[in-house]
Amino acid sequence: MKLRQKKTMTAYLFLIVPLIFFIFVRFFPTIYAFWLSFTDWNIISPKMNFVGFDNFRALFADSVFMKSLWNTFKYVLYGVPLVLVLSFAISLLLNNIRKGQAFYRLIYVMPYITPLVAVSWVWRWMYQRPPVGVINNLFSFVGIPTQRFLFSMDQALIAIVVTTVWVNLGYCIVIFLAGLQTIPKEYLEASKIDGANRWQVLTKITVPLLNPVILFLVVTQSILFLRIFTQVYNMTDQGSGGPLNSTKPLVLYIYQKAFLSFEMGSASSATVVLFGIILLITLLQFRLLKRRVQY
């Protein structure tokens, strides 16, 4: 056998197990999820009927589904700007200092690697009413009235957003900081010599040069907030997404549909909707990246 043929054989041999994995654990399940979304299957009954778009029609007529879809958008709408603005501001501050930068950065990253379940329970506790809730204790100390936080239909979602921002902050800071450090010092110095003030340097040089980084973070953070689940499951009463579905996101809706009421067909349709939204955002990123201006 020629060397070339031998190498080709070796390549296929090396790839066979991984290929089986990616086909059976990633590819087929995806196709199967799409197929299920057009059936009325629940795991108990043996028959599986093709029902066309009935599941999707039923979903969009279901007020709980619409509520959870809207909640999911609210998580993204509140969470992404908050985490981006905060992490950008902090990374600008970190970029100003030299001594202790690594230490500060380290502390900001810590929540990102902590188990989210533990984080959720710690924050759930901090959000409690007095005398156990430490945030309310602090509030009463400075004269702010007691807040209901997770027990309130208006505040619970925002309380969960705040916790999530606390978790994701470090990740965004590290990426912003890496981006900031790629900006050539000459640009900043030249603009200073030209008499630009700090605000002008920031808006005319730093932000435009960081555009790709900002775009990347907008997309990854949006996807993260779209897929929010663990925090809501652990911070709301019995993992229900309450009070009265006011915090329930799409993934929790899917979880309950599939694994508490076993309506696999309908739950799969909801996952297809989630997939569609994520795909849309990802494609948008590619479009914007292609169009991005080179400086």
Partner: protein, 273 residues
């Protein structure tokens, strides 16, 4: 340094230090509270006045925390080893061999990155119930045995290994697999370390799939166990905080040992975008 530069620096330090308190406080609050008695939890004290270790004794003696700790360790270690081996093998093959179908295979693997886990859990669950994998280690582990992101990362790094080096080993009569293990793997150690740490942390913290696939408490992983334990002990905050501390400590240790890799790894995943 100008005066305005100095004042900016002082202001930066001040704001950063105030914010650091917000970042650290929940950790301290969690750890302090695990040493408090039930009575002290309700007395608005911050630092434990009479620190006790009863909570830890109770959690290790009368709950399954040790078992969950072991489950999580086994699962995270086995899947991380599998990901390291297979992802670097695939990365090596895709970077260093020419063969028909190479581009399609790479595209196929990378395209799976776009599929959210949430979409796959229902088919995985049905698969597991057909094959009898529910409520087993294998059931929890199998979806994570390889990672498309890891393949992408390893292929990038394998690309930079010089071909001459591999050819020289071939002339010396080394087998192709031997070349992979003995020549290439040592050269991509930093990438392997990054992949290992992120996979380990990801597996250790994974929640949705382990929650779905495990049904008896003895098969829970630490996060699922903690969620279960906390809802069983609702309002016993000192116990919940002890459980949270126990599940966080292993990761804080990993984090402190590998902090440089973790920060670099985050920047690496971010800047490819």
């Amino acid at each position: 340094m100008t005066r305005s530069d100095r004042s900016v620096r002082i202001l930066s330090y001040t704001i950063l230090s105030v914010l650091i308190v917000v970042m650290i406080f929940p950790f301290l609050w969690m750890a302090f509270s695990s040493f408090k008695s039930t009575a002290e939890i309700y007395s608005q004290s911050y630092f434990p006045e009479n620190p006790i270790i009863d909570n830890y004794q109770e959690i290790f003696n009368s709950s399954l925390f040790l078992r969950w700790l072991m489950n999580s360790a086994i699962i995270a270690i086995v899947t991380t080893i599998s990901v390291l081996f297979f992802d670097s093998l695939v990365g090596f093959t895709l970077a260093k061999y020419q063969f028909p179908g190479k581009k399609i295979i790479f595209a196929l693997i990378i395209s799976t990155l776009m599929i959210p886990t949430e979409m796959l859990v229902i088919p995985w669950y049905i698969m597991s119930s057909r094959f009898g994998w529910l409520d087993s280690y294998w059931g929890i582990m199998f979806p994570g045995m390889m990672s498309a992101f890891g393949v992408f990362l390893m292929r990038q790094f394998m690309d930079s290994v010089p071909d001459d080096l591999l050819d020289a080993a071939r002339i010396d009569g080394m087998s192709e697999f031997g070349i992979f293990v003995k020549i290439t793997l040592p050269l991509v150690k930093p990438a392997l370390a990054t992949l290992a740490i992120f996979n380990f942390i990801g597996d250790w913290n994974a929640f949705l799939w382990p929650l779905i696939v495990s049904s008896t408490p003895k098969m829970y992983t630490l996060p699922v166990g903690l969620a279960y334990f906390s809802s069983e002990n609702l309002m016993r905050w000192e116990m919940i905080m002890t459980g949270s501390t126990v599940s966080t400590i292993p990761l804080i240790i990993v984090f402190l040992i590998f902090q440089k890799h973790i920060v670099k790894g985050i920047a690496l995943t971010g800047l490819k975008g």
